[in-house]
């Protein structure tokens, strides 16, 4: 009887949400930590240089990445992989004819 009751309890939406939601002590720790981290980061905007940052350096990085050389750089990065994947595709699909078992030849 106890085993039959367990699945019913798990499928009640309110109880499932309660099980997933963080407990109150966890929220008390995470929220102040995130706030402190955001405050520290906001004090040093010039140190932010990521491509999606709004600092001067970030804008320059974004401009260089998305500039006129974007597709040239994409091609340069992707080209070796395209060649390598073409080789693997050739081995996989054309290979079996080349790599057929010895028994078939005899």
């Amino acid at each position: 009887m106890r085993d039959a009751r367990k699945p019913r309890r798990l499928h009640r939406p309110a109880q499932s949400l309660q099980a997933v939601a963080p407990s109150r002590p966890a929220r008390c720790v995470v929220q102040p930590l995130l706030s402190a981290l955001l405050f520290i980061v906001s004090l040093a905007p010039q140190a932010l240089a990521c491509p999606i940052c709004s600092s001067d350096t970030g804008v320059e990085v974004r401009r260089a990445i998305l500039g006129p050389e974007l597709w040239r750089n994409v091609s340069a990065t992707v080209l070796p992989f395209l060649v390598l994947f073409a080789i693997v595709a050739w081995v996989r699909h054309r290979g079996p004819a080349r790599l057929r078992p010895v028994e078939d030849d005899q």
Binding site: A64, N73, A76, A97, L99, P101
Partner: protein
Amino acid sequence: MSDAAKDPSPLISAGLLLGIGMGGFVDGIVFHQILQLHGMLTARHPKTGVDPTAALVNAEINMFWDGLFHAFCWGSTAVGVALLWRAARSTGVDLSTGLLRGSLLLGWGAFNLVEGLIDHQLLGIHHVVESGPHLPWDLAFLASGVLMILFGRRLIASNSPSVVGHEGVGTSPSN
């Protein structure tokens, strides 16, 4: 089913993709990140010999393109794992350890050779060692690729008696 009748190509293609991915990760992790000898576009956006602000901007630009490079390495490895899983669940597939080792080496060597030829020699977007004379290091990188290809091919041929194609990755069983 005898070993000779088993199909080696599913395991070879899985091993090739895993070798390409792992070779790319070795390049990216060891040369790009740990030793920082080069980045994806360090020939166009150098991190040395420029003022600190430009060095920071160029480092960030290289980091972006290194990320795209790593994404393709990850994709190759993921598809390789999927093909390996499919090969392991199939019947009539040669699953010898030597064949997998040879395929991994062949994939890694192919990565070094193809990436070295295209990025270092043809496009010149970066070199193995960016500062100073880079040709010896580039040639050593290419040579490592050729050696791994030869060794991997030999491993495949010696571990898969069913491989007969001269144009493929294997050799004649009489060898």
